[in-house]
Amino acid sequence: MLRPETQFILNGETVRTRAAQGMLVLDYLRDRAGLKGTKEGCREGDCGACTVLVGSADGDSTHYLPMTSCLMPLGELHGRHLVSIEGLNLDGLNPAQQAIVDAGATQCGFCTPGIVVSLTGLLLQPETGSPEQATAKALSGHLCRCTGYRSLKAAGVAMQESVGDRTGIDSLVAAGVLPDTFSGITPRLKAIPPRADPNGQPAAGLVLAGGTDLYIQQGAAVEQSPLDLLGQRPELHGITRAADHIRLGAMTTFEQFAGHPAIAGLVPDIEAIMEQIASWQIRSRATIGGNIVNASPIADLTIMLLALDAQLELASGSDRRSLPLRKFYRGYKELDLAPGEILNAIRIPLPEAGTRFHFEKVSKRWNLDIASVNSALAITVVDGRIEALRLALGGVAPVPLFLADTCRLLTGKLLSVATVREALEAVQAEIAPISDIRGSADYKRLLARQQTMLHFAVLFPETVPVEEFYAAN
């Protein structure tokens, strides 16, 4: 069978290839294109040495995000602009390169091309916050074992200062920050026809959204097998707001989720929360749908969505059904999902006024690490009484756990330290953590207690002061 053709722009050149759709962009660059500046440090999204920029046409412009080429299928490049370090090189050094050289922020050099790509990627963003914050974001997906990072942070800040407030691709090209190949990309991308749908049949194969879980779990098998690339289905994208709910296409990425004003309305500190989830590169690929269907007991977005009472829109061919996320999980990685069924979208009902939301995550390393235990609480308190609450905990059961019993127990009660103490006990009865690499069962039980207490203490410091728990013994 003839494999589908993938057409994209690699740095400046248009590429048409029938290489396997699941081939990693990293392998394509190094082994097929002979571009060796992109390095492999882990092949698992954890080091950033393989970082590339991927540009997607959006209206009249092209928006670039850094991604880890070690978790990205070639097929996903269709209609997009792939930029490797070679595609950023000018005759002289670009501002990121110059800043790294000046700051002495490269030693063995193995991590360096990836970091240059992410830092340059910052210059292509419409908005980035302070130079320090922006640098932190750009470095969030990178490991450097040599420098100790101070010099890299200094380089990131110096780079932004040297570019000043020049923004927009054309002005960056004009200023000699980007090579000429960046101009005129948008029309070239738009000229690439959508991938031909063989006989109008949906692609048969492994369902791949962002691939950030699938490649980790199945590695080489994904590289070989036919793929159903959800990224190529426009109907799965986009965030819309209705009168009583917000609808997220299943392909909504973490970055899109965190950046959307509708979400900020629900979870005011979503941007701060998101800084503790994955890295810029992973967040640019990882989807909400993938987070839910992957069914990791510790999935951060899923835990938040459980507390937000999310509803799933599932589709199998023309059959549609709707299911509360809470009912989706039956056992470890066992789902209420029929073969061939796809998660189309997630609906978040708009909560009653006065509902407060809080998220907790403890991981060994603060940045780019999977939680030992995470949890989310959405709570509505009226006149001191708990009208509604939804509590979800991750890492304490075979599934992302909605604590139905605890919630039932607390609903209608007066919010007080004593009530929270009851909740702490109820939580212990409802969870069943196991010991694994993320911590012992005892540790997770302890974290579950601390986090549950903290949800209330952070949201209601006056009524539920932390000290009370440590005082009245």
Partner: protein, 774 residues
Amino acid sequence: MRQIDAALHVRGESQYVDDVPPPEGLLQAAVFGSPLAHGRINSLDLTAARQVEGVLAVLTAADIPGENQIGPIIADEAMLADGEVHYIGQPVAIVVASSRRIARQGVAAITLDCSPLPVIVDPKEAFGRNEIIGVPRTIARGDVDAAWADCDLVLEGSCDLGGQEHVYLETQRSRAIPLEGGRLRIHASTQSPYAGQRMIARILGVPFNRIEIDVQRLGGAFGGKEDQATQWACVAALSAWHTGRPVEIVLSRAEDMRMTGKRHPYRSDFKIGLSAEGRILAYQVAHYQNAGAGADLSPAVLERTLLHSTGSYAIPNVRLFGVSCRTNLPPNTAFRGFGGPQGMFVMECAIARAAEAMGKPVAEIQRLNLLGAGDHFPYGQPTGSDYARTTWDQAARSYDLPAIESRIAEHNATHFETKRGVAVMPVCFGISFTTTYMNQASALLHVYSDGSVGLSTGGVEMGQGLHTNLAGIAASALGIAATRIRVESTNTTRIANMSPSAASSTTLLNGNAVLLAANQILDRLKSLAAAELDLPGPADVSIADEQVLVGGEPAGLSWTELVGRAFKARTGLSAHGFYATPEIHYDKATEQGSPFAYHVYGAAIIEVTLDCLRGTYTIDSVKITHDLGRSLNERVDLGQIEGGLAQGLGWVSLEDLQYGPDGRLLSPALATYKVPDAHFMPDDIQTNFIPIADDTNAASNPGPYGSKAVGEPPLMYGIGLFFALRRAMRAFRPDLDLPFVSPLTPERVLMALYPEGHVAFPPIASAVEAAHER
């Protein structure tokens, strides 16, 4: 001067082993590692692997034409397992195929039938069963047994220190290319080209001169490619030997983490005795080193542990015992600090325990006992310097330690949910290979007739800035611009019998060899210049800024003109320099001597904030005073200090190597083994240096141009994080007796703070007060 490869690095143009365009017919190798930590091999079934399409060869111990042995110090390490396996991941067979994917498929098709044997992962258990490597060592000074009676306080304790994975970003790799006449050229990612050459010659049974090792650069190493790189060079070489084609091996991150050795975990017992005022009168320690299944460099690492077991302190009566214990883990190996960190860590634990028992600030006991100029190390070498105190005092003064202390005290008095801690970590680190004969190096310097310079040494560039330093040294010596100098790859056909790039000594040894080579050329050129300028002799001639000077004044003769004339006058424009560090010696029989050319000193102040409710913490700042000598390149040196610091901080906090009782590594990926990242490292890192004029340590320093070794010592500043955290933890729970178990992961912290578990909240006095005020 900038790092000379920096512009290539940032453009992605620097080539690592597998970035060089592949030679025609390049094959890929993958290794089948033992699935069991200990067992007797009954049979190895290779049939299915051989049938995988694209597999060209499957090789086992039987295919090794020479000796199946690659142990660097003790011959106890087979290249491919034969008869028994001793750790999970131990190489058993090699699959050579047309692609890496197929080679790995071939590996997956191999089955090994093995009868399990008992597995040991704990060094004390190994010691109990007399599973030891080499001989136990004891360094003693004074009379420790008699001294206890004179002490006002005697305390004992135990420490459990975790290992550390190197996480060089570039995993192990090698590419072997067959040459005419049965020769092989191996492009390897190794700190020790000569070890690779020696071992490949050994497994193939050929003279050394048939094997050429070439090293352009390494994507990080940190000790992990000192002797652990040899295995992979041997795999590529043996495969090329058998197939007659070029063969490459590149380990995946998971293979690398499972199959290669790491920093040694230690279990140690200490006993410390002090006077009432806090003077340490006696110290005794027993280190049980978890060496893994083979000796590798463990005996040398253990030696350095013992030589650093009293840290920066002067103690009259000591007994330092250490033993390498054989367990069923991959053979542990060199890692920046090379055993020094463990020795110093345990000493700091003893001091912390003593200070806590006496109710004195830890820093007071530390400062009181710092080495002075007249003191001797337990192995007899005099300090000859009061730098332990100089660096401590400068750090305390320049960073205002008393102000830090009072800020922290105030924070802790007024905050319940977070507590802050500070610790000072003094470092005193001996420079030289403790194996004396290794302190030698060569350089080969060519001046081409156009005035450009080619320089080869036995030193390997792995990010430490060696090439930048060497170019700078050669440029200064010859009086020319560094841009004229090309530092060549490290190659065994140009430099013979090289020592590994290790022990912080690479610039010291190779830089001095460069100076010796450059001076020979300089002498010849000066004589020629004198003749050309009709001077009576070369005494007044010098070269600076690419000009010949006579009596300091330009003589109208440029470097390029001079070199051109020298060539026509048939002057030798190549020279070989050989350097051996003078005056170092060590007698293992008496465990006394002067093993180090000198010591590097420093002190770091580390502040941390602990979240007492979650067990997580943030490093607020690290402030260092370091003894840098006359820096060859401050940018390079600062990079070494900050990078070493990060690894030290990681070692005692995040980096949690976990093995199951079956010897399986439970954290074989960067998703589960976390190393410091930009967020973990504090934004506030400051470093200052001891003014050169005050350098009481200079006299003994043989470093080129008065420079000092800087590679390893800064790692040990990171140890301070453990003690800063401990202080913060004690501020929250002064009632607890906290153990000395490293790394202090957020899990260990929280579990230590809440021994009551999830059932009850601990009563905290300050919380009671706060609640009352409410």
